[in-house]
């Protein structure tokens, strides 16, 4: 990071005021997320308490509700059952319900993972190849091709969803993981090409030329010289692709119904017994958002590049 100094030397007072305001903004803007996290550990009645509760006894009810399907039983029936053997059975017994089986959340989570990682791998792979070609070779109409690639990303998802829906119906790709992987790859590859071209542009050509003189072929030079040098860039790009696929909602909502449904379209439909089960929704949301928070911290040095398609680098 460059050490540019704003204005002249700012006074300690100005600096402290600035710090205070920024921290204030950060705290206020993080409150909604904190509330999500808190709600995940509330009981159903604490979550809908009026007025809202800040202090409560934490419970894992929300998480149990999230992962299980439950049926309500009369107290007498429950008392007849053998004593609960696991902690989560204990929690549900106290509420007067028994666990009937795992919920569908697990499938949705698996879908999110499979589609996320599948499309990330494909997009990063294709993107690395194309970015290398665009970075190193003379290609006719290069700028136009690069613009074409970027413009595909600018398409409103809803606008292309109609024909893609019809195409997927026809090709039997509707509601399939492979269909979603291909679609997310297509959306991500534009970002991957733009970002990786920036990263590869920064690797001096001399390294490859030296390798060529040493007797490497172009492909060998690409594999053994360029790829290792671009490793950080490739990793950062992959994380950006993963975050996009993980967060995507519109395409999955419209092009899947169950087999390929990921978490985002599913979370709003986590409805417990007796109305919206907010602790379960919060638990799902927390588990869903936590990895992204972690990635944000890991990526912080590359965030700027990622969100501007490599246009701004520092």
């Amino acid at each position: 990071m460059s050490e540019a100094r704003p204005f002249s030397e700012s006074s300690p007072f100005a600096r402290r005021t600035a710090g205070f305001l920024v921290v204030l903004y950060a705290v206020v803007s993080l409150l909604p997320l904190l509330w999500i996290g808190l709600t995940a550990f509330k009981s159903q009645s604490d979550a809908v308490a009026y007025p809202p509760k800040l202090i409560f006894t934490p419970t894992l009810e929300g998480f149990v509700d999230l992962f299980t399907v439950q049926t309500r039983q009369p107290r007498a029936e429950i008392d007849k059952l053998p004593p609960p053997t696991t902690w989560y059975e204990k929690i549900t017994r106290e509420k007067g319900v028994v666990i009937a089986g795992p919920s569908r959340v697990v499938e949705r989570f698996v879908n999110s993972l499979v589609i996320g990682f599948g499309s990330t791998f494909l997009a990063t792979f294709l993107g690395t190849l194309a970015a290398y070609a665009f970075s190193r070779f003379k290609i006719p109409l290069k700028d136009d091709l690069m613009f074409f690639i970027l413009s595909t990303r600018m398409m409103p998802p809803i606008a292309v969803a109609v024909p893609i829906y019809m195409m997927y119906r026809y090709l039997n790709l509707y509601d399939t993981r492979i269909g979603m992987i291909l679609l997310y790859t297509a959306v991500n590859v534009s970002l991957a090409v733009w970002l990786l071209k920036g990263f590869i542009d920064e690797i001096p050509r001399e390294y490859e030329e030296a390798a060529l003189i040493d007797g490497y072929t172009r492909l060998q030079a690409f594999r053994k010289v360029v790829l290792p040098q671009a490793a950080t860039g490739i990793a950062a790009t992959a994380i950006f692709c993963l975050i996009f696929s993980w967060n995507e909602y519109a395409f999955d909502l419209l092009l899947s119904s169950s087999d390929a449904q990921t978490m985002p379209p599913f979370i709003p439909f986590i409805i417990g017994e007796g109305g919206q089960d907010w602790p379960a929704v919060a638990a799902g949301t927390t588990l869903f958002l936590a990895p992204i928070a972690l990635f944000t911290v890991l990526l912080r040095k590359h965030l700027l590049r990622g969100i501007t398609f490599g246009a701004v680098r520092r």
């Binding site: 007025p51 690639i149 709003p268």
Partner: protein, 312 residues
Amino acid sequence: MATVDAYAPMTDRARSLRRARGLSDRAIVWLFVAPTMALLLAINIFPLIWAVRLSFTGFMANLPGAASFIGFDNYRDILTDEDMWAHFQATAHFVFFTILFQVLLGLGLALLINQKFRGHGVWTTLILLPMMLSPAVVGNFWTLLFQPQIGPFNYVISFLTGAAPSSFTMIGSVELAPWTIVLVNTWMWTPYVMLICLAGLRSIPDYIYEAAEVDRASPLRQFWSITLPMVTPFLMLAVLFQAIQSFEMFDMVNLLTSGGPGSVTELVSITLKREAFEKWNTGYASALAVILFVTTFGAANIYVKVLNRVKQ
């Protein structure tokens, strides 16, 4: 920054050696670029052409039968429909205010962070968090925060203003709902504008300020004549990107208000989804999609021009 097209000539020896072995450069270019292009053509361009074709028909995807050609009727219907103009107005309101607030807050925060107080790195990272999250999942959760009685938002407002917490609903009220979606979107994307502005501020070399100092320019003068002009290209970039993004906004709003109450927060993309996937007016929806696409494509074109300028 060096332009990337500058093709550094290789030494003759390297060139002749390379020609002797392995794939030719041309073959590598084909091999490396073609799969990406093929994928984009199949999943982006082909559907787009299909959408253009459908937009001239009265096709309905839920009914059997061939598409009947009806010329520009769909376009005429869209552009003369008053409800549709209301949706475009709702979208314009959303885009304009969300960007206005993002720019004010984002630039302000960037200026503050650039004061380099202790711990600014950590707080910057924390501020960035909302923009990385799934808008759909977050939009869904904001519905709890906005619940008039059990949600914390109304309590905070009531604590600050004294109004009773159950006297207003952010989602259910015709007056407030358009501002609610602006609020949530601003919360999500202010960090984006902030981060880009921060990059702009850091790109300003010290010596310019030092020179201004020598000339005894006031801090305010320095801001107007140095900081703002130097940050503007970066700000433009952020604004354009956010304009495109909020113009296409679907997920957060769909889960937060799903267009309601009535249709006061029904943005164009929500209308599009309704026409295409609820009423199954495929032809009509395709025409709307084409209109949306042409608009964003135009914006994207400008975007790339600005982007190239920022790069230099």
